[in-house]
């Protein structure tokens, strides 16, 4: 492979690269909306419950458990960046 071929390969973006980049962007953008809303809802309901009845602050552990269950889906979207070529 002479210099011209190498320069060509180093400076061009193939259609495959461009499409995979667009795909990754769409996955990240669409994939983080759901878990963000879900975790926000959990936080809001927890704070509303504590505001109504301060004894409800013992449920903080349970709320964090639900946050971690939801966060699985966000991390699956993030991990698929490294899987899509």
């Amino acid at each position: 492979m002479d210099a011209v071929h190498m320069i060509y390969l180093a400076t061009t973006v193939t259609t495959q690269d461009a499409l995979s980049l667009i795909g990754k962007g769409l996955m990240i953008g669409g994939g983080f909306i759901g878990p963000g809303i879900g975790i926000g809802l959990i936080g809001g309901n927890y704070l509303a419950a504590v505001g109504r009845n301060p004894e409800a602050s013992k449920f903080l552990g349970q709320a964090l458990v639900f946050v971690a269950i939801i966060e699985l889906f966000a991390l699956l979207a993030f991990a698929s960046i490294f899987i899509v070529k």
């Binding site: 964090l64 458990v65 971690a68 269950i69 966060e71 699985l72 991390l75 699956l76 993030f78 991990a79």
Partner: protein, 208 residues
């Protein structure tokens, strides 16, 4: 941490004596996952020290192979315990189906429950692996962004990963305990058609 975890495990079961049998496994699992997660945050562990292009030290839970093995063994414990508590495999499968499996609605619900059971292996192991591996990536990204000030920019995220590591160990154990408790508690009570609340097919009462 010991009495807290022991009480957590034992209180999940209806029969406290049965619950005591499973305490050693879950306490071991919790401390194993916790220590492995935290050891991954030590500055030398990761891509920093490389031998032949591959990192020398990696956390066990930072690999999908490790967490998949832990998930498979945990669900094997759940299945084998619930089969043993129900008596036979037929009894164990019977408790997925409310009433009789010949009814198509209960058949579909039962099959869906069995499928959910099988996806629990992947959900447990993927949750742990992704949290630890992506935490490492985040710390690496923020160390790179602060070129000379890398020790300062990486500190907030290392603290976050301490918290996330402990939380994920707790969640792995809590979810496995819940799955085990659900399977074992129902072992002696087969749900029959009378236990299902009647919601369709009743005559509507007219309001006068």
């Amino acid at each position: 941490m010991g009495p807290i975890l022991t009480n957590l495990v034992v209180n999940a079961f209806d029969d406290k004596k049965k619950g005591r049998k499973y305490v050693p496994y879950f306490v071991t699992l919790f401390f194993f996952i916790l220590v492995n997660n935290w050891l991954g945050l030590i500055p030398g562990v990761g891509e920093a020290i490389q031998v032949n292009g591959l990192p020398l030290l990696r956390p066990f839970t930072g690999d999908l192979d490790g967490t998949l093995a832990m998930g498979v063994i945990t669900m094997a414990v759940v299945y084998i315990s619930s089969i043993r508590e129900s008596g036979s495999i037929r009894n164990y499968l019977r408790h997925f189906f409310v009433g009789s499996p010949a009814n198509p609605l209960y058949l579909v619900i039962g099959l869906l429950e069995m499928f959910t059971d099988m996806t629990r292996v992947f959900s447990l192991s993927l949750r742990l692996f992704l949290n630890v591996a992506i935490g490492e990536i985040v710390i690496a990204v923020f160390s790179y962004l602060g070129h000379v000030l890398a020790p300062a920019t990486a500190v907030p995220f290392t603290l976050l990963e301490f918290f996330v590591g402990a939380l994920q160990a707790y969640i792995f154990c809590i979810l496995s305990i819940m799955y085990l408790a659900i399977a074992v508690n129902h072992a002696h009570h087969n749900l029959t058609e009378e236990d299902v609340p009647v919601t369709i097919g009743t005559e509507l009462e007219t309001i006068e």
